[in-house]
Amino acid sequence: DQQVKQNSPSLSVQEGRISILNCDYTNSMFDYFLWYKKYPAEGPTFLISISSIKDKNEDGRFTVFLNKSAKHLSLHIVPSQPGDSAVYFCAASVGATNKLIFGTGTLLAVQP
């Protein structure tokens, strides 16, 4: 039972354009959502997060949107850069459990 789903295994965008990565979840108890970025042969690194009391959080070129009624969140990267090419994982948790449930990841390729 996949509680966090990333239905697009891969995404290709042109440099300078917007990248939109999507994530759906099924557990309505999730109250905190995170995006991690992973380069090959490295561990995931934290990118941005959002709590369930918000619907948007921005950090520079990265913005995460949360639609609780649809149980959907998205990560927007504007403008996309070749260095953004990586696998992006969506993760969710309940309260202060510190237990993360990860999606399967989306491989983003930003073409120069």
């Binding site: 966090v4 990333q6 295994p9 109250d31 905190y32 995170l34 991690y36 042969a41 490295e42 561990g43 995931p44 690194t45 934290f46 997060s49 709590s51 994982f89 993760a91 948790s93 309260g95 202060a96 459990t97 510190n98 237990k99 993360l100 449930i101 990860f102 999606g103 399967t104 990841g105």
Partner: protein
């Protein structure tokens, strides 16, 4: 700070062999975790620890054991390796819980394990 370090980077085991994956963090974090990532899948939590001497099972604990005798170290033990344990293993740590939400976890570079 080195952050979270893991050894070895790669290992090939034969079925039935045992080994310990090492994980050390120098950030004085209370929480530590072990995840595995299978090809095309997300990370799944194996075990976690909220402090020295305290460990608990995650989503996929079968076939593994852990111990936490110090704040810095959190080794993962495979007793009887099976092909199903072929995976990439990531160790992570996070600081003492400060809010009502999960704290950011910092990951090591991973150990790629193959069981033949």
């Amino acid at each position: 700070n080195a952050g979270v370090t893991q050894t070895p980077k790669f290992r090939i085991l034969k079925i039935g062999q045992s080994m310990t994956l090492q994980c050390t963090q120098d950030m004085n974090h209370n929480y530590m975790y072990w995840y595995r990532q299978d090809p095309g899948m997300g990370l799944k939590l194996i075990y976690y620890s909220v402090g020295a001497g305290i460990t608990d099972k995650g989503e996929v604990p079968n076939g593994y054991n852990v111990s936490r005798s110090t704040t810095e170290d959190f080794p993962l033990r495979l007793e009887l390796a099976a092909p199903s344990q072929t995976s990439v293993y990531f160790c992570a740590s996070s600081p003492l819980q400060r809010s009502q939400y999960t704290d950011t976890q910092y990951f090591g570079p991973g150990t790629r394990l193959t069981v033949l």
